[in-house]
């Protein structure tokens, strides 16, 4: 390795931006085969797009979406209690804004041009999109809360940087507030879990499953890598047995068998049973992802920790796990995304989550045969949340990247 700095700083060659015609020639018509491919694919795409547009504007009856917006979002939740869901959304918006502002406290401008454009597009969408138009004042208020809290978070983050870690605690508390707001009790009118539904139930189950399966998965992965034979073989047996069975079997049988394994008369709530099934299933898969991360940490790290005098639990939590989890982030988030998608299976078990409530709506005689419209709509919703999660995982990876490159 040399320590001398080069006299001239070499920079990467400038990327030439091609004009349209050379660009077309290079990327679409470079030879006869490519040209043929381009023409054929364009023809097929054009035909499909034309068919979609014609269908979307003439055949499709989109009225099923705005008419049932409340059902899609909250299921059979009593409409006089909707304010609780709005309050919950407000709390989540405030926390999201606060976290964003604190994370971005070192950026020169919080509201850069791209962010402002994003805000404008979201607001315009809320006002113009028919399903959200009736509640657009409330939704605009949420956007305003996010923006205001982001500004406040940036201010707090700059004056008192130490407060950043309390955000995690706030999120933790907000989860219990969410359950209290949705379920009632302690001064609020109770809402039975039979009336929970729609997107709210989907998100609640996904968040609960993710929060519960993460520690179990990490523990199982550590157990599987452990040098203690009893711990190791118990972990292996659990992971391999669960991974061998389809989720639907676990969920369905879970609904039937969990009461069988408990004393007479003890019957956990069905939402709880569903979350238990999801958690135990995902934990086994998550353990394998974490194990891959653990294997990527060189043995020397553990040995170095031991030679510093750290015992096994300390060296695992302080040295090995942070490195392992960082490597495993893409796989872990991938598992979270599939857990989120797996909540759809609960519609088969009879829960009215997003897909389940859609099937009930489609069973309504006045919306008979509106499959494509409804499934496309909730498909967009699922896509949005999954895509947001994978985008978030890429951002976290960049933030945690400590490679000196």
């Amino acid at each position: 390795m040399t320590t001398a700095t080069p006299d001239t700083v070499s920079t990467a060659p400038e990327v030439k931006r091609l004009a349209i015609v050379p660009w077309l020639h290079k990327n679409l018509f470079s030879n006869w085969f490519n040209s043929l491919l381009t023409v054929v694919v364009t023809a097929i795409l054009g035909y499909a797009a034309y068919g979609m547009v014609v269908w979307g504007f003439t055949v499709a009856q989109w009225v099923v979406i705005p008419n049932n917006m409340g059902l899609f979002m909250t299921g059979l939740y009593p409409s006089d209690q909707y304010w609780r869901i709005w309050l919950l959304l407000g709390i989540v918006s405030a926390l999201a804004g606060l976290s964003w502002g604190m994370l971005a406290r070192n950026l020169p401008t919080l509201f850069s041009r791209n962010v402002l454009i994003g805000f404008a597009v979201v607001c315009a969408g809320f006002v113009l999109f028919p399903p959200t138009r009736p509640s657009s004042p409330k939704l605009l208020l949420m956007v305003a809360i996010v923006a205001a809290m982001a500004w406040a978070g940036r201010f707090i983050g700059r004056s008192k940087p130490g407060l950043g870690k309390w955000i995690t605690l706030l999120w933790f508390i907000s989860y219990f507030i969410a359950i209290w707001l949705i379920g009632g009790g302690l001064g609020l009118a109770g809402v039975s879990t039979n009336d929970w539904g729609g997107l709210v139930l989907t998100l609640l189950m996904a968040v609960s499953g993710i929060a519960l399966c993460f520690p179990i998965g990490v523990a199982l992965a550590l157990g599987r890598r452990s040098s203690l034979p009893v711990v190791k073989w118990l972990s292996v047996a659990y992971i391999e047995l669960i991974r061998g069975v389809p989720l639907i079997a676990i969920l369905f049988m879970g609904q039937v068998m969990i009461p069988l394994f408990l004393p007479e008369g003890m019957r956990p709530d069905r939402v709880l049973r569903a979350v238990i099934g999801l958690t135990f299933f995902s934990a086994a898969y998550l353990a394998e992802n974490v194990r891959a991360g653990l294997q990527s940490v060189p043995r020397g790290q553990q040995e170095a920790a031991a030679s510093l005098g750290l015992n096994t639990p300390l060296s695992l939590t302080l040295i090995v796990l942070p490195q392992a989890l960082k490597t495993a982030i893409p796989a872990i988030v991938g598992q979270f995304i599939s857990l989120f998608q797996d909540t759809t299976l609960l519609s088969i078990v009879g829960l009215a989550e997003l897909l389940g409530i859609s099937r009930s709506i489609l069973a309504n005689p006045s919306y008979l045969g509106r499959y494509a419209e409804v499934y496309l709509f909730i498909g967009v919703l699922y896509w949005f949340f999954c895509y947001a999660m994978s985008l978030g995982s890429r951002r976290i990876e960049e933030l945690l990247n400590t490679d000196h490159r």
Binding site: N27, V231, V245, P246, A249, L260, F261, Y382
Partner: protein
């Protein structure tokens, strides 16, 4: 160690607490005791609950008469057959779905994965869009979409679609030509033999080209001859029977695929294909750039350098994750139950509903899916060994 004084005994106790070995054993004993306690508690409850319901554990019910009918089955099945037979029918249906799914999803996934390296901007973007769209939408939703929104549009049998009397489709199902020759197995054996022969001639051709500088024309003619014979057998000797239209709608003959089967297969293939495409893309990316450049500088065209140089090396990285993707496909095939395709899980569910034996049915399900997954892993491991680096 022998010590009599009380002081050193106390010291020993402290030493014990600081000893790593003691804690290792203690931790294991505590874990094991906890697991046994919890399992024991559950099993005691289970026994009490089963006794209260008057059910005794056992697999004897499998020989009882099932009494329900199954919509479609490859095996002969009547409602008065026993539960065991019904479950077997479900297993066979699952296997037909899984095998067709694995073949088609691999084809789709490899094509999409390779297409993402296309020089053609449009093809590249389509491949990326396919992966980004399909992977982020739940499989069950896609299954419902195909079953209700797409295949639900198929017309009634009276005005069925007819593509040149080869493919006939209505909401009763889709009919395809199917070989019905009496000596089908023999002819298939001949075809396999021809493929093996062609493989050896191909190797021979490469050998003479590389080692003797020959043009390999003789061998090429041999290959063409084998190909023509094979094509002739495939087209004429297998006794392809196209479906025939019935008066007033419907069709007979050929192979009937139910709407449920086709929808489940389409959803599984599209969904798994997107994941396989990502695996293939990552595998190809893992091959170092130098290999591409070396292949190009030898004068290979980009398609050839992909096929001959890069892809064989990428296979080493591709096959292990592909294995777990195939296992996922096998497990996901149980979702076909949601559109009423009578696969293993669906039959098991009916069996459970009729007999009220969740534990036994669950054990059967678990064992069967474990065996399916083990078989897939076995096959993939064999394949994996054949693509490993052959080092001296």
């Amino acid at each position: 160690m022998v010590s009599n004084s009380g002081e050193s005994k106390k010291l020993n106790w402290q030493q014990l607490l600081r000893d790593d070995r003691f804690w290792k054993i203690a931790f294991q004993v505590i874990t094991l005791a906890l697991v046994i306690l919890i399992l024991g508690y559950f099993l005691l409850n289970l026994r009490a609950n089963l006794a209260r319901q008057g059910i005794s554990f056992g697999f004897g019910f499998l020989s009882n008469q099932a009494g329900f009918s199954i919509g479609e089955s490859v095996l002969e099945y009547r409602p008065n057959d026993p539960y065991g037979k019904a479950l077997l029918v479900g297993l066979v249906n699952t296997i037909t779905l899984v095998i067709a799914g694995i073949i088609l999803a691999t084809t789709a996934g490899v094509s999409a994965g390779v297409a993402s390296f296309s020089k053609n901007w449009l093809v590249h973007k389509i491949s990326r869009a396919y992966v980004g769209l399909i992977r982020n939408i739940p499989l069950l939703l896609q299954l419902f979409f195909w079953y209700f929104a797409v295949y639900g549009l198929l017309p009634r049998p009276q005005d069925q679609l007819n593509l040149g009397n080869v493919i006939i489709g209505s909401n009763r199902g889709i009919y395809l030509p199917w070989p019905t020759s009496n000596g089908l197995l023999a002819w298939l054996g001949v075809l396999v033999a021809l493929i093996v022969a062609a493989f050896f001639v191909w190797q021979w051709r490469i050998k003479v080209i590389v080692e003797q500088g020959d043009t390999g024309q003789k061998q090429l003619f041999g290959l063409i001859a084998i190909g023509l014979v094979g094509l002739g057998i495939f087209l004429f000797a297998l006794g392809w029977q196209p479906p025939t239209v019935q008066e007033g709608g419907g069709a007979t003959g050929g192979l009937r695929l139910s709407r449920e089967y086709v929808a489940a297969l389409t959803a599984l293939v599209f969904y798994t294909g997107a994941f396989i495409a990502e695996i293939v893309r990552a595998g190809i990316q893992s091959v170092s750039r130098g290999q591409w450049e070396a292949a190009r500088s030898l004068g290979l065209a980009s398609g050839l350098s992909m096929r001959l140089v890069v892809f064989p090396q990428a296979l080493r990285v591709i096959i292990p994750p592909l294995n777990s993707e195939f296992m996922n496909l096998a497990k996901n095939s149980s979702l076909a139950f949601a559109v009423a395709f009578p696969e293993l899980y669906s039959i098991a569910n009916t069996t459970f509903n009729q007999t009220g034996r969740p534990i036994e049915v669950f054990l059967i399900l678990m064992a069967t899916y474990l065996i399916i997954n083990l078989l897939i892993t076995l096959g993939m491991n064999t394949l994996n060994q054949s693509v490993q680096f052959k080092e001296r």
